[in-house]
């Protein structure tokens, strides 16, 4: 499966702002299943916007996004094809880490509860699992959100600044878990960050 962008341009950005971009306003940008993409840009250059456009949660763009096949229902796309780590995480602070995972997993029942526990154990201290997520540190929350992004079938995994609040050691553990799941599902990985990340073996590094 491929996702192709044609002359994509956020409506709230000028053409001069987008000059020199490898993606915006390019006639034919292809993201292909099985490949790993690094997208670098300074803040305010439309990293999150790009992922929101692809995920379908924002339509404030000109140009077209082609998913290669007819997408009738955006909700099917979100459950079967695209998984997304939101920059603002979109966790439910009143629920525990495990409940947050369960809420996502119950849409597709993709993971068993043993698998959920194992993934969470790899990234979070044991005593934090039963606390409301609102009481966790930002870095811990970010890890919970990464695990949640893995609780569904996907062909494209999009991570928006996944390590912005995580130290190097924890970042390695997160990267390992992500790589394992991406390889297992044969999916594409699209990661955005301010600077290039060396924790994933990227096939393509692009400037936005």
């Amino acid at each position: 499966m491929k996702i192709t962008l044609h002359n994509l341009k956020p409506q709230y950005m000028s053409e001069s702002e987008l000059a020199g971009s490898d993606i915006y306003l390019q006639p034919n940008v292809v993201f292909e299943q099985g490949q790993k993409y690094m997208i670098c840009a300074q803040s305010g250059h439309g990293k999150s916007s790009l992922l929101n456009f692809i995920y379908g949660s924002s339509r404030a763009y000109d140009g077209t996004i082609d998913y290669g096949e007819a997408v009738a229902d955006p909700f099917v796309l979100r459950r079967q094809t695209l998984s997304y780590l939101f920059q603002d995480l979109c966790l439910f602070p009143q629920l525990t880490a495990m409940e947050n995972l369960d809420l996502k997993n119950s849409l597709t029942h993709y993971k068993s509860s043993a698998e959920l526990t194992a993934m969470l154990d790899a990234l979070l201290p044991a005593d934090k699992k039963s606390q409301p997520v609102g009481t966790l540190s930002l870095g811990q929350r970010q890890r919970v959100a990464v695990v949640r992004a893995l609780c569904q079938p996907f062909r494209f995994l999009m991570l928006d600044e996944p390590f912005s609040h995580i130290d190097r050691q924890n970042a390695q553990a997160v990267a390992q878990l992500v790589m394992h799941e991406v390889d297992r599902q044969g999916a594409a990985l699209i990661v955005t960050a301010l600077d290039a990340i060396d924790l994933f073996p990227f096939d393509h590094v692009m400037q936005l």
């Binding site: 949660s57 939101f86 979109c90 439910f92 629920l95 809420l103 996502k104």
Partner: protein, 393 residues
């Protein structure tokens, strides 16, 4: 269910309780007034009163002078003609009265009999709305149907029975009692079996079919020439304002109960309609209340709904919990309201059943409640989905 746990916390119990209470009160009162009207309606319309509307009885005023000269209470041909000429009078029919001896007896069992002397009058059959099968007589028949004034029964039920601690009797019960009528005159005598087939609120007399009285007066009557002290006058419009003035000036007495009771019926209907309308408004307010509460929930938890939407929940899935809660509360509430209304009805039926014949069924209100439930559920389910879809998408 993690989703339900999450959404349960967004509900506002006090607002839901407020909705349940107002809906309960509104629906109970609406159902009850509706049922009360259905139960009482037969008594408000012609069924209890055998006379047609727009018809009154007219007699001459009895004064000290006239009581000395008995002839002056009768109407002569000139009087009839004068009345007939009035523009508001449609038809004038004199009463015929019996000119022979009448008595009634009833067997009380164990050899005892109770009897009383009576008199009969008659009016043209077309003025009676009684069941025409019961109101029939021919010279070969041994059965004689009669109509008595409603006031006789009221006098017994509300006066005599009350003071003597005797049971009250309904019109239907009394209609089932058979008794004997004996007529006598010109040296002949005959006995009929009889039953009361109707009650009149408009005329204070004991009525028999006119064909019978005409025949009996010829056969048993003492006087060949018939005189009438009372007339039945049919108006083109009973509310014509010239009517009271004319009868006042002519020294005629008009039976006003009919005009009074139609005023009562109007007031009763108006009162029921008023209560019904207020209760219907209460139901609408309760609906507005729950919709406002849902809007508050959505406004307060906008981020939560957006997060659910972002991680892949559809508006339909997000709505489902609220649809179920509101539907369940509404169904339970309406069922409780129906039960309460039926309970109250049972109470008033018990009180009234001795005096009136209540034979209304409760099927209409049960059906109405089910339909109301269906309408409310459909409205809420669509509305909740729309509110949530508008918020997230």
């Amino acid at each position: 269910m993690t989703l339900h746990k999450l959404q349960r916390k967004t509900l506002i119990p006090a607002q839901i309780a407020g909705y349940a209470l107002t809906l309960f009160v509104g629906v109970t009162v609406v159902i009850l007034t509706f049922q009360l009207y259905a139960d009482i309606r037969p008594m408000l319309t012609q069924q209890t009163d055998v006379f047609k509307a727009h018809t009154v009885t007219v007699s001459k005023n009895v004064t000290l002078f006239k009581s000395a000269n008995k002839e002056s209470v009768y109407f002569d041909a000139d009087d009839l003609e004068a009345l007939q000429e009035q523009p508001f009078v449609k038809k004038v029919s004199p009463f015929i009265s019996s000119s022979f001896n009448v008595s009634a007896t009833i067997n009380l069992g164990n050899g005892h009999r109770m009897g009383t002397d009576l008199f009969f009058e008659s009016v043209p059959d077309e003025y009676l709305d009684v069941d025409s099968e019961a109101w029939q007589w021919d010279s070969t028949s041994d059965f004689l149907p009669i109509v008595i004034p409603e006031d006789y029964l009221s006098l017994y039920n509300f006066g005599f029975a009350e003071s003597q601690s005797l049971p009250v009797i309904s019109e239907r019960t009394l209609s089932q009692v058979a008794f004997n009528i004996h007529i006598e005159g010109n040296g002949a005598r005959r006995t009929y079996t009889s039953r009361i087939v109707g009650f009149s609120g408009k005329i204070n007399s004991i009525l028999v079919p006119q064909s019978f009285l005409a025949w009996a007066n010829r056969t048993y009557g003492a006087v060949a020439h018939q005189r009438s002290s009372r007339l039945l006058v049919e108006f083109t419009d009973a509310s014509d304002e010239r009517i009271p003035a004319f009868f006042q000036d002519s020294g005629l007495n008009i039976n006003k109960t009919e005009l009074e009771s139609s005023k009562m019926v109007f007031l009763f209907r108006f009162a029921l309609l008023f209560v019904f309308t207020i209760a219907a408004i209460v139901i609408l307010l309760s609906m507005a209340f729950i919709v406002m509460s849902l809007n508050v929930i959505v406004q307060k938890n906008r981020d939560l709904f957006l997060n659910l939407y972002n991680i892949g929940y559809t508006p339909r899935q997000i709505s489902r919990y609220y649809q179920r809660v509101v539907s369940l509360i509404t169904v339970v509430d309406l069922f409780a309201a129906l039960s309460a209304a039926l309970w109250v009805r049972q109470y008033y039926v018990q009180k009234l059943t001795h005096v009136f014949d209540l034979d209304g069924t409760v099927t209409p209100i049960v059906v109405a409640t089910v339909i109301l439930t269906a309408i409310l559920l459909a409205a809420y389910n669509i509305l909740i989905y729309r509110i949530i879809r508008k918020t997230v998408a």
